[in-house]
Symmetry: C2
Subunit: 171 residues, 2 copies
DNA sequence: GAAATTACGTCAGCCATATTGACCTATATC
DNA sequence: GATATAGGTCAATATGGCTGACGTAATTTC
């Protein structure tokens, strides 16, 4: 009963908001994410690393000098979880820490050359995959992709992320 | 050095294929997925279940009478991993199994009433989130979202998934 | 300048989810 | 009858989350 959509509700919704279409949207996200993470995972496995290391390396590479707490805010995991990953990456020479100038409690993170090399290797497959999808779909579709994904993000996060994305672009 | 894009390559690419834009596309996918899974996870945690249970419940709900091997092909995990999840869901009365008619080795899966109820509860938040994003972005953007996500999926999978999506729509 | 807060780290234990490899049963198929 | 397939199971292992408690150094506040 509860999954029967009332005629009124149905009429109020444009065609692309039917339950079927929403489910399709959910599933496409699942499938895309599933396949998107597959290739880097294989590379990481050979190095004794996991997807969590990839995420850390990616965002440190993206925002050189990022603080631990900023990274935590991006990843939305606990500091204990991040700590395990991060200390391994530091120990194995992928990431360097240096104390913050303004605030010496901070440990600013950046990739070493070894880290940059791995980052490139990991991101290459994903960048190629995205590039292919973008090219095949065309500029207009890309704009739509961005618009919808942005709309899926928590509202309170959206501004911050937009700033982050644009910030990287500028700097 | 290796991350410097050659002028030739740059010129050959339309604006939306610049490295920055590709990275933006990667990150949007990460953020959207991160926030997309947050709400159901909270519900599941209270029931002693995890994200893996959600996925199983979702796809069994979507394809009533699905076989175990079909479900494995969708989730792309090992049968041992699925088995743990599935047997818990059967034990706790969310999913029923019945032998296949044509092939009695098969165990066709379907949601019980309890399972359907949970499925609705879990999917509600995601459906609402997608609906909001779709509505805000508009029909054209939605088409682009679908196009790009489909392009991100492994090529060998794309046909199968399209058939699956359309099949659910028809039947 | 003492007290409180903040940034970060760490130890310990728990749980969910994935893996590989080996082995088993029942049913289909050649 | 032999072989293949659908599915399940036992065991061991790894990853990546979590909570809770505690510690240190630096900054901020009163």
């Amino acid at each position: 009963m509860a999954d029967v959509i009332s005629p009124a509700k149905l009429a109020a919704n444009p065609l692309f908001l039917r339950d079927e279409d929403l489910r399709q949207g959910i599933e496409l996200l699942f499938y895309a994410y599933r396949d998107f993470t597959g290739e880097p995972d294989a590379i990481l496995a050979r190095l004794g690393l996991g997807r969590a290391h990839h995420r850390a390396i990616y965002f440190v590479g993206r925002h050189a000098g990022i603080t631990v707490s900023e990274l935590l805010a991006i990843l939305k995991i606990t500091k204990q979880s991040l700590s395990r990953v991060l200390s391994q990456l530091v120990r194995e020479g992928y990431i360097q820490q240096r104390p913050g100038k303004r605030d010496r409690r901070q440990r600013l993170l950046e990739l070493t050359d070894k880290g940059k090399e791995l980052e490139r290797q990991l991101t290459r497959t994903q960048r190629e995959r995205i590039a292919r999808a973008y090219r095949d779909a065309g500029a207009e579709a890309v704009a739509g992709y961005r618009k919808v994904l942005l709309g899926l993000i928590d509202e309170t996060e959206r501004r911050k992320i937009l700033a982050r994305l644009d910030g990287s672009k500028a700097g």
